[in-house]
Symmetry: C2
Subunit: 459 residues, 2 copies
């Protein structure tokens, strides 16, 4: 059985206080990428990251972009034939508001009950920093690493990573690698190391239904003029059947069923439907018949209404027959659904079901491809062993209902497999007041990642 | 064949210039009931109306209310056994804004191409004033009237007649009558005198669908939590069947089919579907199968969405699973549907079709009963003959898709039949810039009403 290498473990233990102190310094920088008044802080966090990489033994460069800088650290001293790995993370954080809901100040790190509270603690400074410290342990203890390493830290993750894809494209030679490792997600539960198997994609539409040329009096025209709000409701009602399946013809054609073993493993995860329902605050759960809650969230596509607007929405009664009605509708996609193909199917379906008397237009606002990990191969196997060594048990395979577009960019541009292994926990308030990271996950995660590089080189 | 009495006709012809001048004075008063800066003007219009009634030979009183005054004129000198008629009109007007869209100033009456342009010309000062002048003709020429007359002019019609029903209830003895005559509507077409056969009622609801306790991330929860906006769309889609009929069980039970003769007459009216469609600006007309456009507007109930609101409605894409969704939904009702009964049917239907996973509440915001005229009896027959005498042809029977709550109040509180005979025309811009009244309809309408009192007494 694999163990955490004793030399690295001893180094990390001996330097525990210093590492913690440095992490606190990093968290004290309010690098809020969404707020221009924090632009200087964001640059400061980029420079801090570069210095930290340098202190660990890497060569670090701060690259200006049209937005916030990208920091790249490199160490390329591994033996000939060794693999090159790229570690991605981000040094920017969400806004901290509403400040009054924080128990301790957002940018003054505070440990309570084993949790480190601070904006950015888990998303993503703590997880980026544990990678830097794992590299430092290798380089300080042994003067070398078994793999070549590139660390890529961006400052725009919380505002859509606007300049990252083009940065990667413009620096393909610099960033060429055999594997990408990202720690910006959560474990399924305390003590359960987790590897993310998939992300859902997205196809986001706006549906506009135009009826009469202007709002009409519902008494003078109602009954003879087609009501666009009612037409929209009837259109939206065609998107699902009574079993919760999406009724757009062809919608499931490209859906690649999950391997039975992965489904089996997902079904064995300790998941409490009632707890999930209570957390959402819903009267009851719903969704597609024949699937568990986790399968619905991780393995099945959706079609949701994100917004509705038509006619009079103020207080009281106004007898208007609206001129138009609008819906925002988005589909979460699973492999191998393609947002452009889904756009075509959606448009064809709406053209078919839109009634006469209104004009329906569909605009594709935003799309992203779904992603599925390679749950085999040297990178995955090394991660499995390293996580087992650090956490004392085999990792579980989890999914993610949301989308992280940058993951697809790495795969697409660099052609390398991506490993998503995160050390957050459910309830960590990543984008809310009182964000926290488990200190135990920080120290154990650091050891797991330190072990990962040995394991990747050893097999 | 009935003719306009020659003595009254001669008087009105001889006094034509003076009558027109007085009407212009009336129209110059900007009695905008909705704007408190015009409160003094509204009082001035009430006093002007009272003086005009006095000059015609009636006794007039201005009654203060909690809002704008009610003016009551009386003449009770008819022979014993004569009927008492009540004429209702209003001296207040809609706001004139946007002023820049008026060809000539809103409160400076101007005649162009036989049309008198001014705010209030047709709605309703011109129509109220022609009644006063018809009474004046009788009293000046003959010193008497064949019926007792009460004129009730209010100043809050354009702001919901808030204090009128209670005024009527508090003055039942003063206002007791055998018939009510109202001229505040339009003829079907130029040269086609029209009697209004019906008004639709209203049952206006707000439907609130509550899903999760707060907005959720559509990636993290979508597929397993019931989406209240989608649930609302599916609920609204159950309100009609594919033939445009309302699918709420029991909804049509109280609908009293129109007499075949009235339907036949409506079908013979010169109505151009294409003109109506173009005026509405709709790509195509729609509605309940098996009925003409006019039947749909006048004789059939509706169920319309007046407003929709849920989730994100701004520019671009936001991946929110909304916590709630709201629709304003109103039903136009026809005799003998009752708003309270419809409320019960609506609530029962929505309770049946609302899916699990959301909580649906229905609030009844506003209701009004439909109304149907007695298209027979002495009042209707007298109107038929009087209109034929003045306009040279029999009146047509028209309907009205909208609601005028005060009509029901007269019937309910005073127990008298109501005759709606108006002299407006389609396209008269009653609530828009360039409001106008046909001068020919004004002078002919005045003679029709003068004739009406003779005819009512003679049979």
């Amino acid at each position: 059985m694999t163990l955490v290498p004793a030399d690295l473990d001893a180094y990390l233990t001996a330097n525990d206080d210093r590492i913690r102190g440095e992490l606190f310094d990093f968290l004290r920088i309010p690098s809020v990428s969404a707020r221009s008044e924090h632009d200087a802080d964001t640059v400061r966090a980029a420079e801090w990251t570069a210095r930290s990489l340098g202190a660990a033994g890497l060569t670090a460069t701060v690259h200006p972009t049209a937005g916030h800088p990208v920091v790249v650290g490199e160490w390329r001293g591994a033996p000939p034939g060794a693999q090159t790995v790229l570690v991605y993370g981000h040094y920017d954080v969400q806004p901290a508001e509403p400040l009054e809901l924080w128990t301790s100040p957002a940018f003054e790190p505070t440990v309570r009950d084993g949790r480190l509270y601070a904006r950015g603690s888990v998303d993503d400074k703590g997880q980026l920093f544990l990678h830097i410290k794992a590299l430092e342990a290798h380089l300080k203890v042994r003067g070398t690493l078994p793999v070549n390493v590139i660390v890529l830290a961006e400052g725009e993750e919380e505002v859509g990573s606007e300049h990252l894809a083009s940065f990667i494209e413009q620096h393909v030679d610099l960033l060429r690698c055999d594997a990408v490792v990202i720690s910006d997600s959560a474990m399924f539960a305390p003590g359960l190391p987790s590897v993310l198997s998939s992300l859902r994609g997205l196809a986001y539409f706006q549906i506009d239904v135009q009826g009469p040329a202007q709002d009409l009096h519902s008494g003078s025209y109602g009954g003879a003029v087609v009501n666009p709000a009612m037409a929209l409701a009837r259109i939206l009602a065609t998107l699902h059947d009574d079993d919760g399946r999406i009724a757009i013809p062809g919608f499931y054609d490209a859906v690649d069923e999950w391997p039975a073993a992965v489904r089996e493993q997902m079904r064995s995860l300790p998941f409490d439907d009632e707890h999930f329902r209570a957390e959402a605050g819903s009267p009851a759960l719903g969704g597609e018949r024949g699937y568990t809650v986790l399968e619905r969230l991780w393995t099945r596509p959706t079609c949701e209404v994100n917004g509705l607007l038509s006619g009079y929405t103020g207080e009281g009664a106004k007898t208007v027959l609206p001129a138009r009605a609008m819906a925002k509708v988005s589909c979460r996609l699973v492999p191998d659904q393609d947002p452009t193909e889904i756009e075509g199917l959606m448009k064809a379906h709406l053209a078919r079901v839109s009634p006469s008397g209104v004009t329906t237009t569909v605009t594709h606002l935003h799309g992203g491809r779904p992603w599925r990990a390679e749950l085999k191969g040297p990178l995955f196997e090394a991660a499995r062993r390293a996580l087992a060594a650090a956490f004392g048990r085999e990792p579980v395979i989890t999914g993610e209902g949301g989308s992280i577009p940058v993951v697809g960019d790495f795969g697409r541009i660099l052609g390398a497999p991506v490993l998503l292994v995160g050390f957050g926990l459910p309830g960590e308030n990543a984008h809310a007041p009182d964000e926290w990271m488990s200190m135990e996950n920080f120290t154990t995660g650091m050891r797991a990642i330190a072990t990962l590089w040995d394991e990747l080189a050893a097999h």
